[in-house]
Point group: C2
Chain length 141, copies 2
């Protein structure tokens, strides 16, 4: 089941490297493309989309969308579901996306599962609100 990876190419290597290096945040096709362009290794967006699709099927990356953005976000999740202790906070003022690890959130998910029978997919869930910086700025006014 492991080696349906196809050919080993420069492009595949470069995309995967970038995803793994940024496994703690999310990337878009645009970001990947720009980064690779910057390193001098141009890779067509078509190729990026196709590799992401494949990785998605294999479960190696997660796909989600954040409100206010138009393009899809991808995040390397590796072989395991590390994503379960990791969630996203999105500031509606400045647009910042915060990635956060916190045991409380896993506890809540367990509770929702046990008591309400609902299996939360944290990876796809985004908490919207206002971050500390923006809150302080607002209070000053």
């Amino acid at each position: 089941m492991s080696n349906t990876n196809g050919y080993k190419t420069k492009q595949r290597e470069a995309i995967l490297n970038y995803l793994v290096e940024n496994k703690n945040s999310h990337v878009t096709v645009g970001k990947i493309s720009d980064f690779l362009e910057g390193t001098g290794n141009h890779v067509g967006v078509t190729t990026i989309y196709r590799h992401l699709d494949k990785l998605l099927e294999q479960g190696l990356v997660k796909k989600y969308t954040v409100d206010g953005t138009t393009s899809a976000c991808f995040q390397y999740s590796g072989d395991e579901e590390k994503c379960n202790c990791h969630y996203h906070l999105k500031c509606e003022k400045c647009g910042k996306l915060i990635h956060m690890n916190c045991s409380r959130i896993s506890e809540l998910c367990s509770h929702i599962m046990r008591s309400h029978g609902f299996a939360v997919d944290l990876c796809r869930t985004v908490f919207y609100g206002v971050c500390q910086d923006c809150k302080e700025k607002t209070e000053v006014n």
Copy 2:
């Protein structure tokens, strides 16, 4: 603070009616447009987008992206006051939107506020996952 609703127009009325009638499922701009077209009341998509944006700001509708679809989904969620003491679970299998009251969620929000300095807006936040019914169906297979 309540009546920043702007003018009362036929278009606004028609869109809001449709949203309320379909409060148990989610709709897309295309669906709204098609439905209104069918009733003989044509409303431009631009207008639909603009009203949805406004309703979103007011917390009267929720916006989602559902896996595998290209366009955004909207769902009427009701009065803003009610929203602040409960949260929303969206089943990705059947599309059901579950409103849930649970003290644990307020606790989590307080914790995020205290420890991480982030003010969660529950009104805008949706938990994605799989509901009990759909989970059971999957397990049967």
